[in-house]
């Protein structure tokens, strides 16, 4: 994978309407939680609010939009409210305030029936602890979403078989969840979510319970599936490398609020505050930053060197720049927008870890 592909995708997708629109979402747990919003109490810190009213503010005034085909990552430490946030999107947890719109439908105002239809056809979700049904075989687990929709047995088993092939589990169809490794169980979870052919896939820390190597495999799997199917994804994680790998855009949450929302480059290149910069400190900048961040205005006669797309990461640009006597030209849509010389690359690499 490389950021150049995700960057291209982002360009292609920002036209039209957002698939998910979340506006001012609040979730406060506790008695009389709805009375807190709009008062001065809402601005208190979590601990203060808790001692004053006994309520816990899990999500506080979060707004974002997710575009079709985009991978939108919500990142934060445990307790930052990210898992609650993703559940409010399809009202597995009722938001205390705010408005959610998915695919043009107002979710927050939806009737019970509309909500069921939304959950059945528009969205599907992958869970941290898989949530598989221990009493059903793998293929019946994958077919569960279709069964809930009322599809015939032949139809749902055929579809489940297809999806199992997609995730490489066709041989395990008749096994049971407790006979599979954690990674394979989560593949079943993925297949179950894909089987209903949703427009939006919600991932709630799907790989946190897995070993690091398997986690990497599964991330590759998600990237592959995303390429093949072009699904829109909302991905929750507490793992920054995972967020940077998968996300087109990333929202960093802290204490229920979004502290920064931007592309991986934005986060690494210009963190919004100390909290974010602490987070991204250990990330190798050359892996994330693109030429756009280190190029300068071309001086006279410099615009004829070798060319690279402006969205190439510094790391990937190194071989070309090293081999060239002249500064490399960064090109966007066929036009030279800047040049990058060896000094700039060395500075970018030297700046890592500061």
């Amino acid at each position: 994978m490389s950021t150049s592909t995700t960057g291209a995708k982002r360009l292609g997708s920002s036209s039209g309407n957002p698939l998910i629109r979340a506006e001012g979402i609040w979730k406060i747990f506790g008695k009389n939680a709805d009375r807190v919003i709009g008062t001065a109490d809402a601005e208190l810190s979590r601990a203060e609010l808790r001692t004053k009213t006994g309520c816990v503010a899990a999500v506080r005034n979060v707004s974002f939009e997710v575009w079709p085909g985009e991978v939108f990552v919500v990142m934060g430490l445990s307790g930052s409210g990210k898992s609650t946030l993703v559940r409010t999107l399809i009202r597995l947890i009722e938001p205390t305030a705010g408005r959610v719109e998915i695919d043009g439908h107002d979710v927050t105002q939806a009737s019970r029936d509309e909500l069921l239809q939304l959950r059945r056809h528009t969205s599907s979700m992958v869970f941290q602890h898989f949530g598989l049904l221990a009493h059903r075989s793998v293929i019946d687990n994958v077919a569960f979403g279709l069964e809930v929709q009322g599809k015939s047995k032949a139809e749902r088993l055929a579809r489940a078989g297809e999806v199992l092939k997609l995730v490489g589990l066709e041989d395990a169809a008749n096994q049971f969840p407790n006979e599979l490794s954690g990674g394979m169980q989560q593949r079943v979870g993925l297949a179950r979510a894909f089987a209903v052919d949703p427009k939006v896939m919600l991932y709630d820390e799907p790989f946190s319970a897995l070993d690091p190597l398997i986690r990497r495999d599964m991330q590759d799997e998600v990237i592959r599936l995303q390429h093949e199917t072009g699904k829109t994804m909302v991905f929750i994680t507490h793992d920054l490398p995972e967020a940077l790998r998968l996300g087109d855009r990333i929202a960093i949450m802290r204490d229920g609020r979004v502290v920064q929302l931007g592309t991986p480059e934005d986060l690494v290149g210009s963190p919004a505050d100390d909290y974010v910069s602490n987070f991204v400190r250990d990330i190798p900048r050359s892996h994330v930053l693109t030429l756009r961040w280190i190029m300068r205005e071309p001086a006279a006669g410099e615009a004829d060197g070798p060319t690279l797309d402006v969205s190439t990461t510094v790391r990937n640009a190194v071989p070309v720049i090293a081999a060239s006597e002249r500064p490399v030209c960064a090109v966007e849509n066929g036009r030279v927008v800047g040049v990058v010389d060896k000094e700039a690359v060395l500075m970018a690499i030297a700046g890592e870890g500061d």
């Binding site: 059945r120 949530g131 009493h135 075989s137 569960f144 809930v148």
Partner: protein
């Protein structure tokens, strides 16, 4: 110097207060006060007649007469018609089941039971079931067993029909669960014996009444365990199903019920055991069968009563093992049915059904039902049992002279009798105040207030003396239970070998119906309250042992390790670390033990324990309804009071927090 002075001044306040200034001291003071008033004003101040509601009993009798008159009218009104319909339905259900078993004959019933267990529970459990059926026939108790079976299955079916839906509701709705928990708690405090009279007043004597009493007793565990099973389903599977758009009904039928299957079957297991326990006692109110054989045979035909008791024991163990095996077999995670396996199993089921049909046909051809009830080893066994009984009751034998008789007499002369005299002859205000104060010291103000109200009710209905009599028996039995439970529980926690020996014994003891415990001691120690007391110790000890053992085993290894690292001996670790840290579990054990002891002590009223249990037995045997109900109310009040007093402050705090 100034610093040292300040330290010296602040020192006393940081020392713990000596014991006599704390609650233990106050308790000693209360007891001393009671003793003082006993010696000072013995026989004065019995519960005053002015505080007795004497007309309550006749009122109840009139109510019963009115009820039975209105019910037996040629054209009763709608309420009574519904009521009669329900009562008749229960009667019919029992007689229908009895006829079914008779129709299947011994051979068919045995084949049916054994093969069902074989198909769903495995070979070992099936062998046990077969042996049980064979033993019923061998003992010559086939007819009685069938009647007990019919009664029990009717009661179990009804209990599950009521209990499971409520349990599912309680498992899914936190609100409903909160509402129903105190009711279930209360129902479990009431001794089974106290249910009998009120039900007889409503339903009059008969199988229907037996089913209703059994239901009251067996529904709470059905609800509790079902709810536990539903709540035990991993929340993330429910959430996953919801996220895929499953309706509430789909979540229940496709996720929660299948995943809770093992717990649901365990709730059937518990319901069956509770029902059996009660069905046997219900022999007193018109349930026929083994329980009837026990209660009627106790004095007229001891050998026969012992056979019936043995059959009950066998039935309880076989049912427990069979249903437990079935429950464990169906654990959804273990039961991986592929299409092929399902096919094989279907064929297996069909084969089993065929065998049952064949057995029924054979039974009819050879008249197995009647033959078996005549062809038994009863007479042969009877000679041996009678010989054993003669030995036990012969005053000249070693057993009687040196063991059972002295033990029984010791319990009476140094336990029951003095306590009874003390509680009855102490002026009632002193007893009353003393008990309430002790309740306050042990369990706090609210529980003490409830205990006071309950004690007042006991006096109000005119059962003060009887209740104090029962109370003294309960106290002796509880002290014995605590001693036994602590000793064996601690020993089992410390020694793996002991634990291995104790566990299966406990398992068996916990499955047996309450009545069974009393049978051997009627013949072994036939002195006034002793059979009831000893039987109740036997009945309550397993629970006490278990709780003590678990409490001590649950003490965190770090604490033990820390104490050991400071050089504590094993005894020091036990006395200074483990037992103090297991205090909550031990208190819970005392609480449970006292309730279980009360349940059996009142049943002892049937066999000479006197007091409240005797009043109920008299009410049942002589149709003295009012008297019986009043005694039942007193038992209930005493039970609630004892429960509140022993709940302790820790439990109070934990409950009010939750």
């Amino acid at each position: 110097m100034a610093v040292a002075g300040a330290a010296a001044q602040s020192l006393p306040s940081s020392l713990p207060a000596p014991w006599w200034r704390g609650r233990p001291g106050a308790a000693v003071l209360v007891v001393a006060g009671m003793l003082l008033s006993y010696f000072g004003w013995k026989h004065h101040w019995a519960w005053p007649a002015a505080l007795e509601w004497n007309s309550f009993s006749p009122h109840l009798d009139r109510f019963q007469a009115w009820l039975s008159n209105n019910r037996n009218l040629p054209h009763p009104n709608i309420a009574f018609r519904i009521f009669n319909g329900f009562a008749n339905f229960l009667d019919d259900l029992v007689s229908w089941l009895t006829r079914l078993f008779y129709y299947l004959k011994w051979s068919g019933t045995t084949a049916l039971g054994t093969l069902v267990v074989l198909r769903f529970g495995g070979r070992k459990a099936a062998l046990g079931t077969l042996a049980a059926f064979a033993s019923f026939a061998t003992l010559g108790l086939w007819d009685n067993s069938v009647q007990t079976f019919a009664l029990m299955f009717a009661a179990v079916g009804m209990s599950l029909a009521v209990g499971m839906p409520l349990g599912v509701l309680a498992g899914r709705s936190a609100t409903f669960n909160r509402a129903i928990t105190p009711i279930l708690d209360a129902m479990q405090i009431v001794p089974a014996f106290a249910y009998l009279m009120p039900v007889v007043i409503l339903f009059s004597v008969g199988p229907g009444a037996a089913v209703v009493t059994t239901m009251i007793y067996a529904v709470p565990p059905a609800i509790r365990i079902t709810a536990l099973g539903i709540r035990g389903v991993a929340p993330n599977t429910v959430e996953a199903a919801t996220a895929l758009g499953a309706t509430r009904w789909q979540v229940l039928s496709k996720v929660q019920l299948p995943l809770a299957r093992r717990m649901l079957l365990l709730s059937v297991n518990q319901t069956i055991l509770f029902a059996l326990s009660m069905v046997v006692i219900a022999g007193l109110i018109g349930g026929t069968g083994l329980g009837d054989a026990v209660t009627n045979g106790l004095y007229t035909d001891p050998a026969f009563a012992i056979f019936a008791g043995a059959a009950i024991v066998i039935m309880a163990i076989a049912l427990d093992r069979a249903t437990e095996a079935m429950a464990n077999r169906t654990d959804p995670a273990q039961r991986h049915l592929t299409a092929h396996k399902a096919h094989v199993l279907r064929a297996y089921t069909a084969a089993c059904a065929l065998v049952v049909v064949a057995a029924v046909v054979l039974g009819h051809v050879f008249g197995a039902g009647t033959v078996w009830s005549r062809w038994t080893a009863q007479d042969w066994l009877r000679t041996y049992v009678q010989r054993a009984l003669d030995y036990i009751q012969n005053p000249g034998t070693f057993l009687f002279r040196n063991l059972t008789n002295p033990t029984g007499n010791f319990l009476v002369q140094h336990g029951i009798q003095p306590l009874r005299t003390f509680f009855i002859e102490t002026p009632w205000p002193a007893t009353f105040a003393g008990l309430v104060l002790i309740a306050f010291l042990l369990s706090g103000l609210r529980r003490a207030a409830i205990a006071a109200a309950m004690l007042f009710i006991v006096g109000l209905v005119g059962e003060w003396a009887n209740a104090m009599d029962t109370f003294s028996q309960v106290l002796v039995a509880t002290v014995l239970t605590v001693i036994v439970g602590l000793a064996i529980g601690v020993w089992a926690a410390e020694s793996r070998t002991v634990s291995r020996v104790v566990r299966p014994v406990n398992d068996v003891l916990q499955t047996l119906p309450q009545l069974v415990y009393i049978i051997p001691f009627i013949y072994l120690m036939p002195v006034s309250g002793v059979p009831g007391v000893v039987a109740s110790v036997l009945y309550a000890s397993p629970v006490m042992i278990r709780l003590v053992q678990r409490g001590i085993e649950d003490v965190s290894p770090e604490s033990v390790e820390a104490a050991t690292s400071f050089g504590a001996t094993r005894a020091q670790v036990l006395l200074k670390v483990k037992i103090p840290l297991a205090r909550d579990a031990i208190m819970l054990g005392v609480n449970q033990a006292i309730i279980m002891v009360l349940a059996v002590v009142v049943i002892g009223g049937l066999v000479g324990s006197g007091a409240l249990g005797y009043e109920v037995a008299q009410g049942l045997q002589r149709n003295a309804f009012g008297q019986g109900v009043i005694a039942s109310i007193a038992i209930l009040a005493l039970g609630i009071a004892l429960d509140r007093v022993t709940q302790g402050r820790g439990a109070a705090g934990a409950r009010s927090e939750s």
